[in-house]
Point group: C2
Chain length 322, copies 2
């Protein structure tokens, strides 16, 4: 949760006047997203989300994110779509920060995940990958295999304080991941952060995907691996194979996996676990206790990594052999 | 700003089912109020604010606050009105905390205060006091003159770190306030915290008053004194007598002040400045830097106090002698 930047009523009125959205009737900072300042803006015409991009979002990436959301929404994916000003621009400045307004999506994220949530997610993830198939933008994934070792180097000294032996465990796993990471799986736009916080449900239906600010170009199956990690472990960190089977089955109804993707899935799941283990470890060591942002325990992803290390084939995730 | 308690989708659904408001469509933690957790809840029927009362609000005071809002709203004051459940109750439990839902008010607080805002505030404050005239509830003001010395005793040791000589200045002023504080001014329900954050505007009109969780029974003029402190100083802490005159003039169109109230106004303004000086001093000394809540500088109210100490009659606030 976060609202970092205060926007005055005068700055807001001047900003809103650049859009054809009518007079502002309500404006509230909302607890959504960790990296940026988000506001729910209501006008005579409707509801919008206004985002001020804070320092962890690189301004040069914003055109990629905004054009991606626009592309996906235009293809019928339920995701926020950027609102253009009278001048045609979607990206502008507010309070000396890059800022954009997007459409408001109804729905709420699920905190207690049921199997049907995972099934709905699988379908939506397939639809996202399909809708992104003809997207022209490209953005390298800074948090894929090539990015992990530099991150590790910045965090390794504190690793053993977090969990005894962690430095060595990560070092060994990184060696293996770097050696075995696939070179040639189907690539495209991935969300790369499709955690339950970023998926809305309304009644018994998935109503939208939000927060595309980690989206990038990478193996589509890596996105699945992120979701298996984020959605299919129970609170006690046991793996729920029923949820995984439903997620993968629904995904494959939209985009069937190739044999090489199925074979690579256990390794990609280890990679996805490594990615969140490392960023959480880095944040853990660099966030003072009691600070504004809640620290997430990196050991959660160490346990998930260990689970995937014990997997020999995608059958463990509920996928049938091809 | 604050959202302290996380409410799961399941807890929320069970809670909302106790009201006749339709299915929940959206639920967002909002940055409103410092003491409690607030959420904007949207259903098929409309928008509501759901508040979970955190530990700084005493549960035994909640019936007073809720019945006051209901009383004022019924008399046409633009303020949140509690929503009753199917069982007739407005106050219930959620996530092991007292919780209540109130109506949503359109509008935004003004951050850059213009004279007309102060005029509109004066009118609304008069209307609040008038509408509260026949309210039966009573709640002592723990933050009036009798409460200041105990607060000072808890904070005096750190006072001189905040501003050299502050401990002595407060001690002397407290002696005088306790000696001279009036006994017999018109009393009634006061808001007691009507800062710009708690007043909404829509276009060029005041659209509502919120956050009645400091409301209590006290001198009506003490509420005016709080507003003069909160609304009529510029950012450089110079006093804007034009704003004060407009505020008081608009108030008096609704409820003319008695002679004794006019005479007491400078002293009440000193008292109101003392109240916020002491609570801010206490919070300053008891909030670690970098903590979740932004600390407000107590010296702002020391400067305001000094201004009022130099005032000999209410003429300085733009009130004519009676």
């Amino acid at each position: 949760m976060a609202v970092y930047t205060e926007v005055s009523d005068e700055e807001l009125a001047a900003f809103a006047a650049q859009y054809d959205i009518g007079a502002v009737q309500s404006f509230k900072g909302i607890a959504e997203g960790v990296e940026n300042s988000n506001f729910l803006l209501e006008t005579e015409r409707g509801q919008y989300i206004l985002t001020l991009y804070e320092k962890r979002t690189r301004p040069e990436d914003l055109p990629f994110f905004l054009s991606l959301m626009e592309h996906l929404a235009a293809r019928g994916l339920a995701c926020p779509t950027p609102i253009h000003g009278r001048d045609g621009q979607a990206l502008r400045q507010l309070c000396a920060r890059p800022a954009a307004m997007v459409s408001f999506l109804k729905g709420m994220s699920a905190r207690s995940l049921q199997p049907w949530h995972c099934q709905a997610l699988g379908q939506a993830l397939g639809a996202l990958h399909k809708a992104g198939g003809d997207f022209k933008g490209v953005r390298a994934n800074a948090l894929s295999v090539a990015g992990w070792r530099p991150l590790f180097e910045q965090a390794r000294q504190g690793a053993d304080q977090v969990s005894p032996g962690l430095e060595k465990q990560i070092a060994q796993e990184l060696d293996q991941l770097e050696k075995e990471w696939p070179l040639d799986l189907p690539k495209g736009v991935i969300h790369a952060d499709l955690f339950p916080d970023n998926v809305f449900f309304l009644g018994d239906k998935l109503s939208g995907l939000i927060d595309f600010y980690f989206a990038c170009t990478d193996f589509l199956t890596y996105d699945i691996a992120i979701c298996l990690n984020a959605w299919c472990f129970e609170k006690d960190l046991s793996f729920n194979a029923t949820k995984a089977r439903l997620l993968l089955g629904a995904y494959e109804k939209v985009r069937p996996l190739e044999e090489a993707e199925v074979a690579a899935l256990p390794l990609l799941c280890r990679g996805a676990a490594m990615r969140f283990l490392l960023t959480r470890l880095y944040d853990w060591l660099n966030t003072p206790p009691g600070a504004f942002v809640t620290r997430k325990d990196p050991r959660e992803y160490l346990k998930k990594l260990r689970f995937h290390q014990g997997i020999r084939s995608a059958a463990a995730y509920g996928l049938d052999a091809r």
